[in-house]
């Protein structure tokens, strides 16, 4: 296991470990069902050398419908975009990233070995310094 993979797994474990209980309290106003945490898209923004890029804008566009999701990479270059159906996968979305002084060169999708309804979708985004 590479340190990078380990870091990703650690972060994923932290994210879901911090909210191990179902979404108790129910949904507002109407249903009272408990929700499990939604599936999330997680990844890192990196430069061509593999170094992390903090505070980059990350945009996820879902291929069906008319919805974008926007966040920023944190101090470790990591980002997380939650709220997806268990059926969502890496092919459901386009992901782009941007930051002043950089231009995007690639977004790299990684698939888990087995199709999972709960494991996050992992996509890294690569920026080149201009």
């Amino acid at each position: 296991m590479t340190p990078k993979t380990l870091a990703t797994l650690t972060i994923a474990a932290t994210l879901f470990g911090s909210c191990p209980f179902a979404r108790a309290g129910g949904t507002p106003d109407e249903e009272a069902d408990q929700q499990m945490p939604s599936k999330a898209i997680v990844g890192f923004v990196k430069d061509a050398n593999g170094s992390i890029v903090a505070d980059a804008k990350v945009v996820v566009t879902f291929k069906v419908g008319n919805t974008d999701l926007i966040t920023r990479s944190d101090a470790t270059g990591h980002f997380r975009i939650p709220g997806f159906s268990k059926d969502a996968n890496a092919d459901s979305v386009e992901l782009s990233c941007s930051k002043a002084g950089y231009k995007q060169t690639a977004s790299l999708k990684r698939r888990s070995a087995a199709a999972s309804t709960t494991a996050p979708i992992e996509i890294d985004c690569v920026l080149a310094q201009q």
Binding site: P28, D29, E30, A32, Q35, F84
Partner: protein, 552 residues
């Protein structure tokens, strides 16, 4: 008499101390020169007591005035706050009762010293936030209780004797009540709402461990929060009783005509005249007889007309300020199911394009009313991405182009809907599952919102697309709403602690003002025309309008 200082002078000093001003210094705008009534609060356990709320209500009046004792136990009602008459005094200080009933005539030349004794019934005094901290169990076990406190206190849960099996039935019965229910005004839902059996069982098993089903008293200690101190005691609170216990004021809004409030339980828009304490009620017709009544969100459009979201009556109402007539916009019949519910409305910039935003609570969607045709178009921001995962558009704001910003109370997003293209953009909050509930968009494009499930306040800068968050000091505060005042300070209402939180970001200072009566704070409002600002809120559980005047 023990003191040689003349009584009038003593009261003046007491007033000055209670108001936090120097006796010789320049008075603040709300400082009064003498006290109508004052004295000292002590108990055998503590001696002089700080942060005891002392309330005075005149015989025959619907108005209650409350002040708080300072660090030396002194309290004082300013002279211009109590008109001459006979008053009954009451206190709020968790763990204590008045040693004996106290009444006084105003003007009152003598100090009225109050003696408190330890209460014999602490459970009757706990806030829901204190129950949250007292109950044993994990946060996950306690979290379903967040839904209970919209309607009632946890005291009735703790005092109950239901077994786990009985709780399953009780929970099912509770699920059948509409959101706009209070103990004084229960309303059944028209459409059946089933609880998932495994969820009901899990919650039932837990509740049977914290109530009196197996013992005559609680096996866990009852924990209490500290009384107000320092700045939180420099306040005057006025409560205006509304004419029926069934009235549940939900949203409040102050303008030159008075204090407007939406009634969460009945088909009236209300207006209180604070100078007389007299409320006026403006009735509007029922759209769906047999369905729960009452409105939630109340918002003004560009002309100051007031709009109401009609909950289970399904639609919107516009109150024309000039004609004082209502115009109703029902949800048309193909869309109008038995579960149809509008909790929010946003008409602020409807003059831009003739459109008013609202929500479809049951379908977790957004609706947009076209004023010319009376039709509602549906926008589902989550349909394509979320599948079975639940989101819920709740608090709504618009910018100058009538683009919508909404809070995803079911999950963790700030959303934006473009008014022209209907393109949806979602911004996840930094804290996961924060359940952003309500808030406001300020003139600088900063969107302030309460993170109900994260016990925090968030700010989303709509221009820079960046977030900031501020945690609240008291656990389980469950903030519903936040507003920013002219000085940049934040005002937040807790749904559980009966406390109004004032957050001075610049000074890093948090002040928690305790209200005199149990409540479940919803929409908050700040009147910026006064100095210091004045905070207003409805008490939905005790049918009153509350004015909170900080003295600094």
């Amino acid at each position: 008499m023990v003191f040689s200082i003349p009584m009038r002078r003593r009261l003046l000093i007491a007033t000055a101390l209670a108001l936090g001003i120097s006796v010789n210094g320049a008075p603040s705008p709300r400082a009064e020169s003498a006290a109508a009534l004052g004295g000292r609060v002590t108990s055998a356990d503590e001696g002089p007591m700080e942060g005891v709320l002392v309330s005075a209500k005149k015989t025959g009046s619907t108005v209650t005035i409350t002040v708080a004792s300072d660090r030396d136990g002194h309290f004082a009602f300013p002279e211009n706050r109590l008109t001459p008459g006979h008053y009954v005094l009451a206190i709020r200080a968790v763990g204590y009762d008045l040693d004996h009933p106290v009444e006084a005539d105003v003007p009152q030349p003598s100090a009225i010293d109050l003696t408190l004794r330890r209460t014999e019934d602490l459970a009757a005094q706990l806030t829901n936030a204190e129950w949250f901290q007292s109950f044993p169990g994990t946060p996950a076990q306690k979290q379903p209780l967040l839904e209970c406190m919209s309607c009632h206190t946890f005291e009735r849960i703790a005092r109950s004797t239901h077994t786990a099996d009985e709780w399953v039935g009780v929970l099912q019965r509770m699920a059948g009540y509409a959101n706009n229910t209070t103990p004084a005004y229960p309303q059944r839902r028209a459409a059946e709402r089933k609880l998932a059996p495994e969820r009901a069982r899990k919650t039932a098993d837990y509740l049977a461990t914290i109530n009196l089903s197996t013992a005559s008293t609680w096996a866990y200690p009852l924990k209490t929060h500290a009384r107000p101190s320092g700045r939180a005691t420099r306040v005057i609170i006025t409560e205006y009783d509304l004419p029926r216990a069934s009235i549940a004021p939900h949203d409040v809004r102050v303008d030159p005509d008075g204090v407007w409030y939406s009634n969460f339980s009945e088909q009236y828009l209300g207006r209180l005249d604070p100078s007389t304490g007299r409320p006026s009620e403006y009735p509007y017709p029922m759209l769906k007889p047999g369905f729960p009544t009452g409105a939630l969100d109340m918002e003004a459009d560009q002309d100051g007309n007031l709009w109401l979201a009609l909950m289970f009556q399904a639609g919107l109402a516009k109150f024309d300020r000039k004609t004082q007539q209502f115009r109703l916009f029902p949800i048309p019949s193909p869309q109008n199911s038995d579960t149809m519910q509008q909790s929010m409305v946003m008409p602020r910039h409807s003059d831009v394009d003739g459109k008013v935003w609202t929500n479809d609570v049951n379908r977790h969607a957004i609706l947009r009313l076209d004023l010319a045709s009376g039709t509602f178009e549906s926008i589902d921001p989550f349909n394509s991405i979320a599948g079975e995962h639940t989101h819920a558009p709740y608090g709504m704001m618009t910018d100058a182009e009538n683009n919508l910003y909404f809070l995803d109370f079911g999950d963790e997003n700030i959303g934006r809907v473009d008014a022209k293209t209907l393109k949806v953009t979602l911004y996840p909050t930094p804290t996961a599952y924060s359940r952003p509930r309500r808030g406001m968009l300020d003139a600088a494009g900063q969107l302030w919102f309460a993170e109900f499930a994260a016990n925090a306040i968030g700010m989303f800068d709509t221009k820079a697309e960046r977030f900031q968050e501020w945690p609240l000091p008291t656990p389980w505060s469950a903030p519903y709403d936040v507003t920013i005042d002219k000085n940049g300070e934040l005002w937040i209402g807790s749904m559980s602690s009966d406390r109004v939180v004032r957050l001075d970001r610049a000074g890093g200072q948090t002040t928690e003002y305790l209200l005199p009566k149990q409540t479940n704070i919803r929409r908050v409002f700040v009147d910026n025309t006064t100095t210091p600002v004045t905070f207003w809120v409805g008490n939905n559980h005790h049918a009153s309008i509350v004015r909170l005047e900080p003295l600094d």
